[in-house]
Each structure stands twice: as C-alpha cells, then as structure tokens.
Symmetry: C2
Subunit: 462 residues, 2 copies
C-alpha cells in the first residue's frame, strides 16, 4: 500500500478542516499530511478579533478552535511560521521557508490544498504604514491592536477607515474601550453590503451610539506626528485626529502564489474551483476559504466572500474528497450578519445594484415590524427590505436592520433563496409563532406578502 | 349592481381576517359583511393569555389587535355576544341568538365563513366544573384566571393539568405569580409535541425552575373543599393540593354547528377544506382557523393544529377569494415554538411516532451545540434532534430544546421541509454566521451533517 501525500498551504479554517476531515477518512499509514502556516496561530476565528479588541471575549487562545499540538496529535504535521514560497504544480512539490531559521525545503504532494486566505486592503496612501495604523486580519494583528489599546482610552480618539463589517464591528469595540470613535467611509452610507436606504438606518443608529460617521469621504492619507506615529486621518474635506487608526477596508484573496503557479483566477482575484473544490483544470489541486471565488446561486456569477463559515465548509468538502469520499460545495446565496452594539444587520441574496448588474428586473418592498408580538416586552423594531423578480416573483434578496432577533431571521430567506422560492410561496411558510418570539405574522412573511402583492400588481399592469 | 352578502361565524383571527381582507377588495356597496361573535372580545391573541396571567403583558385590551369599533368603522357589521345557533347551508342563511336579549334572527348569505375556533378539552371527571378550575381559551377565561390569581400567592399552590404548550406556559405564569406549581401529565414526559427524549430535557429544566412535574399520572378528578371549591387534583397515585387548578389539556375543533349542518369533518373533528379554504363540496362555504384540519405537507395527512398564525393566514386566503382575488393555503409543516421561563422549545415536521404512523422509515440524530460562538458571552447550550428519511435523506423533522436563540432556529428547518430538501442539501445552507449569533457551524447544520452521515452509512449497509 502506497502512502499518499497531502500538502496544505495555510493553517486556518479551510486548510485545517480539509486536513482533519481527510485524516478522519485515512489513517497516517495511508495518507501523510503536511500543513504549513506562516503565522503563529492555527484554526482560529478571525471573526472573533473585534470582540477580543472590545474586551467582550478573551484572546488569543480562546479564539483558537484547535491548537497545533492537537492537530499534530491527530497525525497532521502542521508547522507554524513556515511560509510556502512556491507552488510547483507540474513538479508536484512546494518550496517552504522556515521563517525562524530562513532555511528552505521542498515537499512533494499527491494532493495540494491551497488555503492561503485573504489579505486586508491597505491602499498605497501616505502614512498608511505608520505605527498606530492597525489591521484586523490575523491573531497577530489582534495582539498588536490589543497592545495599542492598552493603557486606557481617556480622552483618546480612534478613526476607523471603512464602514463595512469589520469597520462597524471595530467601531463597537473601540466605543467599548472608551474611545471617541470616527468612522470614515468613501461611499454615501455605511455598510455597502446593504442598499443605501438600509445603510442609512445603520448610520442613524451608529450616530445614536455616539459614533461619528463621515461618509462620501475618500481618505487621502494618514498624517503622522511625533516619532512618525499616526496622528490623524486626512480626507479631501478635512482631517480627523486619531491616536489609533484601524483599517477596515475589506480583504482581497491572497493568491499571489497561485497566480505565479498559473492557477486560474476569477475577476476578483480568487481561485476558481469546480463544485468539488478542485482548482479548475487541475485534478489534484484543491482550494478553499478566503482565497477562492464561490458561485453565487442567485446571480449565477462567482464572487469573493471571505467568511469563516464558508471556509469551514470548503475544508470539509476538500477533505472528504481527498479522503476518498464524495462531497460538493454547491455555492452561496450571500448571507452575512453583523452587529454594532445592539443594532443587528443582515443580508442575503442580491442588493438592487447586484441584481441589475446581472440583468434581473425586480420589485422592492420595505416593511417595518417587530421581533416579538407588539404587546410582549422587549419587542424591538425591525426593517425588512425584500427584492422579488418581476413576473416570476422569485425571491432575489433580503436585508434586515433591527435590534434583538433581527439578524438570524435572514436565515429563512437564505433557505428560501436556495430553494428558489417565490415570494408568494413564502407567504405560506410555517414559521414558528409565539408572542415572545414573533408577531403573528413574522416580519419576513409581512415583507413577502407585500412583495407578492407588488409582483401581482406589476403583472396586472403589463 | 347586486350587493353580495358575506356572513362570518366567529369573530376572532380567522373570521375577522377574512372579513378585513374581503373588505379591502370590495367596498360596502358591493359586499355586505355580517360577523357574529358569541364572546365579548374580537380579534384577540389567545396565545397572549399565559403572559397576561403571568403579569408579563397587560390585558385584556393590549391583546386585542383590532376592536369591534375599528371593524365597524371599516364597514364590517360585527356583533359581539351574538351566537350563531344554526347554519342553514341549503337555505343560505344562519340563525343567530342575541345572548343579551335572547332574541333570535336570521341572516342570509352568499358566502358563509365558518370560523368557530376550538374548545378546550374538559374531560367529564368529578369536580372538573368546580369553582377554582380554570380554562385558558378566551379573553373571558383570561379575566376569570386573573381574578382568581389576584390577592397574592403567598403559600398558595397551583396545579396545572396537562403539560403541553398551554400547560407549560401556564406553569411559567404561575411561577411568576409566586405560586408553588405542580404540573400533572398523563404521558411519560411533558410536551408530547416532542419525542420523549426531548421532552425529558424539558422536564429536567422545569424541575430546575422549581416546578414539580408529575408524569405518567392520569387525573381521576378534582377534589373539592369548603364551599365546593377545588382543593386538590386527584390521580390514581395520589392527590396534589391546589388553591387554583388550570386546565391545559389542549383543544378540539368547535364544529358542532358544522356537523349539524352536514359539513364534512376529518378524523380529529375539524372541517375539511380545499386549498382555497372552501369547505369540501360546498362552493360558497369557507372555513379557517382552529375549527379546520390542515394538510400536513410532510405526512400527507390532514391534522388539527390550533395556532393563531395559521388562522390569520386562512382568513387572508378566504377573504382574498371571496373578494374576487385568488389565494391558497398549501398546508403546514407542523412548526411550533414555546418557552418555559428561559427554556425555549421548538419543533417542526414529524415526531418519530408520527413518521412511523404514515409509513416512513428514517434515521434520527441528536446533537449538542450552542447559540453563539463558544467563546462569545451568552453562548447557551442547545439540543437539536433531526429525522431524515432512509435512502432519500429527505428531512422529516427537527426538534430543538435550549435557551436563548433556540426556538426560532427551527424556522430554517421549516423552510427546508417546505422545499423538501434533503439533509445533505441542508449541510450546504448559507446561514448567517458571526460570533454573537452562531457558532461557525450553526447547530442546525451540525445536525444536518450528522443526519447526512447516518443516511450515507445506512445506504452503504443495505
């Protein structure tokens, strides 16, 4: 019996899930697994960093789902601080640099898993690399951030560049730390993962929390002060003083190695795979997690979506297939949930602009409801926006902004999108009802009713 | 233009939704609407009564969604304390008794809506009608209950007969009022809407709340004391002293009038309708709410499920159809959510016994997870049980018992059941993930993975 060799490049969610899953299928005498991670941590929750920064959760150890020792105990030869510097696909080997010693080595593979993740956007602006400008991507970043925040926030100011998920979550963290927080965003509203009308609700709520939200403002640079440290964030309109600057501009796929190896990349620079998470055109090269593009089942296009839950699924699929089982990742519908303090934000499916961009025509409706029966204590307001295709009435997307109970309600729409339901079909959904949990018509059903009426009216007119 | 005449029998959710919806389609000069309600209240939330009893919400007015005056202002001639005593279907008229004056009158109809609701089970046991034995069905019942609970609970004992939804919700209410509470249930576990293994979790949690749970105990009667008042609940094993006895034995369709009129009833005594909510075989008679049986989309059988959210949907469908539009109620999947103090209880689809009874064979899995990322504050444990059909892997049912965030998670399974998804398809669902809202694998997905593995293993064995 020959021993097959699996090499994993990147030791976070996708890579280590793939390794663990393959190991569950095949013992070490049948499958050798080498995994290389350039950082100091493995299998960690990057999504937890804003909560660590805010002092809500402990870190960094609590954010590590499985330690390097645990992986090694299961027969996965994981080496931290080892960076893969070349993928030799035709030669079926990788070149690895030990970042401590500087020594290089080569490792052959039968199956290669590319799980190199994403890197935060850091636009080439003056001062962007100054001390005091901090990213939020790895646990090492998180530790630097914590160090920068230590020592008390009294009278200190923080500026967050970018008002996407990471930006708003970091705004909450900095508010919790006692900082005076300004968020600077280029777009007209925060949360460009929502339509602008829904983003405006987020803006209003953030302002109500004492967060200064500056929109329509392109950052031109970071102004440095004594010792070259960041002192302010400059825009065309003005400067915003900052003792700490946090970058929340989103991420791009980390695919330089893959590109150099000639592996196929999509429009946003992510690796392209088939449904089994095999890199297109390569029988024995697999990719998953934040470095790939995934099929958006609603638009029919591939997209880059960096999210730990997808990375874990990809890893499961890759590991199952390498282990000799069979699994596929059919795609996503674009679900994302987040919060700023007690404001919950959720979306799934397509925004208006995304739907238009792929040739869809649609009706939009927006409704207000509550999380519980109106008479039940704690009933919190919730705004639901829904897009339905013209003529067919197929659900295209849902966005929800509200308080307690708003975010996870989007899951109903995520399943409905996956099942390609029409909004009319959704009006009959048998969702859980009891006064502490929902009005007698769940907010998602109220939106579906209004959307179904819009589709019917639209059909009657044409 | 002739004026059509719509008569509504029963002025709660289904009846008044039908009336309101029909009125939205047709003005009074085209449609006359007469509605008769034998009680003092209309369009109220019976589901809210346990929370009113527990002092969590105000009542009774806060539980009324729309008052009789509001209905009348919209051109719906609603008369309270008027009981329909005969449905003359061939003669297209109803006989109505004014419960205040005793006078009777007749009213003709073109369309008849039967929305007579349900009546609580009150087994013919000695003492069951004694003062101090209270039901929880109408707002009038609720007021009697409130009156009985007034005056302080110090040292007082309450016994709830039946540990279904109403029983456990009333147990919470009585605990909140300061009563020492005993729940007596004939079955082996509370919540017979769950499998016994899941019911046992509810029992443990209730005991932890200081509620005495007596199961496997058939009530033989209510023992009366001085003045003929209820003093104890007797079972074959022993007596449980009670200052207050609450009946929580569930309800049956209130279809005596319909039966007398020769309308078709199902096995559980509910009216049988078509998909448009027309009573089978009757072009101009409609029925909805707690007096009908609904199609269970998972088992393919009709069932009686008394739930306000279904009643509202039925009313919408009936009103739309009478108003000249087109709508159907395709059926239910059996979703129900409830809570006892901070314990959340949810189910959808079929229980093991229900699945077996309709000829299905299946795998069951049970998993433990948490409501949030394990490291996030407030992460609460949750048990998810899932049934998947053998061979096909089709989802058949889900039961969830947990704390915060458990109940409404069942909605994901409700939509998946409606879409007839397999548990394997469910493993790829794009559900919202962020540490405050879910572990990286949502508990429902963890259950789906385990169920999918069970289906695969089962297929490999056979």
């Amino acid at each position: 019996m020959t021993v097959r060799r699996m090499v994993v490049v990147g030791g976070d969610a996708a890579g280590m899930s793939a390794a663990s899953r393959a190991r569950a299928f095949r013992p070490p005498e049948r499958l050798r697994i080498d995994a290389f991670e350039r950082g100091r941590f493995t299998s960690y929750s990057a999504c937890g960093i804003p909560y660590w920064a805010g002092g809500v959760v402990d870190g960094p150890d609590a954010l590590v789902a499985r330690s390097a020792e645990e992986h090694r105990a299961r027969g996965i030869d994981l080496r931290l601080r080892h960076e893969v510097v070349e993928l030799d696909v035709p030669g079926q080997r990788v070149r690895v640099r030990d970042l401590e010693s500087g020594q290089e080595s080569r490792h052959g593979f039968d199956d290669l898993v590319v799980a190199t993740g994403a890197r935060p956007l850091r636009p080439p602006l003056p001062g962007i690399d100054a001390p005091g400008v901090l990213g939020v991507q790895t646990l090492d970043d998180g530790q630097r951030l914590l160090d920068a925040l230590e020592g008390g926030a009294k009278g200190r100011r923080a500026v967050v560049i970018g008002a996407g998920y990471i930006g708003v979550e970091m705004a909450e963290a900095l508010v919790r730390r006692g900082y005076a927080v300004t968020v600077v965003e280029r777009a007209a509203q925060p949360m460009s993962t929502l339509d602008a009308d829904m983003g405006a609700l987020v803006r209003d709520a953030m302002c109500g929390m004492g967060i200064e939200v500056v929109t329509g403002a392109a950052v031109t640079g970071v102004v440095t002060g004594p010792g070259g440290r960041a002192a302010a964030v400059a825009t065309e309109e003005g400067e915003y003083p900052a003792d700490v600057v946090v970058l929340g501009l989103g991420v791009r796929p980390e695919t330089a190695l893959a590109e150099a190896a000639g592996l196929p990349l999509g429009e946003s620079g992510g690796l392209l795979t088939d449904l089994a998470m095999r890199v297109r055109g390569h029988e024995n090269v697999w990719a998953g997690g934040d470095c790939v593009e995934v099929l958006d089942l609603v638009s029919g296009r591939t997209r880059h979506i960096a999210l730990g839950t997808h990375a874990n699924k990809h890893g499961q699929v890759i590991g199952t297939n390498i282990g000799g089982g069979y699994a596929t990742f059919p795609g996503v519908v674009g679900t994302a949930v987040s919060k700023v303090c007690d404001l919950e934000i959720a979306r799934t499916g397509l925004l208006e602009a995304q739907a238009t961009a792929v040739g869809l025509r649609f009706h939009t409706v927006t409704i207000e409801s509550t999380s519980r029966a109106g008479y039940y204590p704690g009933a919190a307001p919730m705004t639901v926006k829904m897009l339905a295709e013209r003529r067919t009435g197929r659900l295209l997307g849902v966005q929800i902004v509200g308080r307690e109970g708003a975010a996870k309600r989007v899951d109903v729409a995520a399943v409905a999108l996956t099942a390609r339901m029409t909004v009319d079909q959704m009006t009959a959904l048998d969702l859980g009802y009891a006064p502490p949990f929902s009005p007698v018509w769940d907010p998602v059903l109220i939106a579906a009713r209004k959307a179904a009426a819009a589709v019917t009216e639209g059909s009657n007119r044409t």
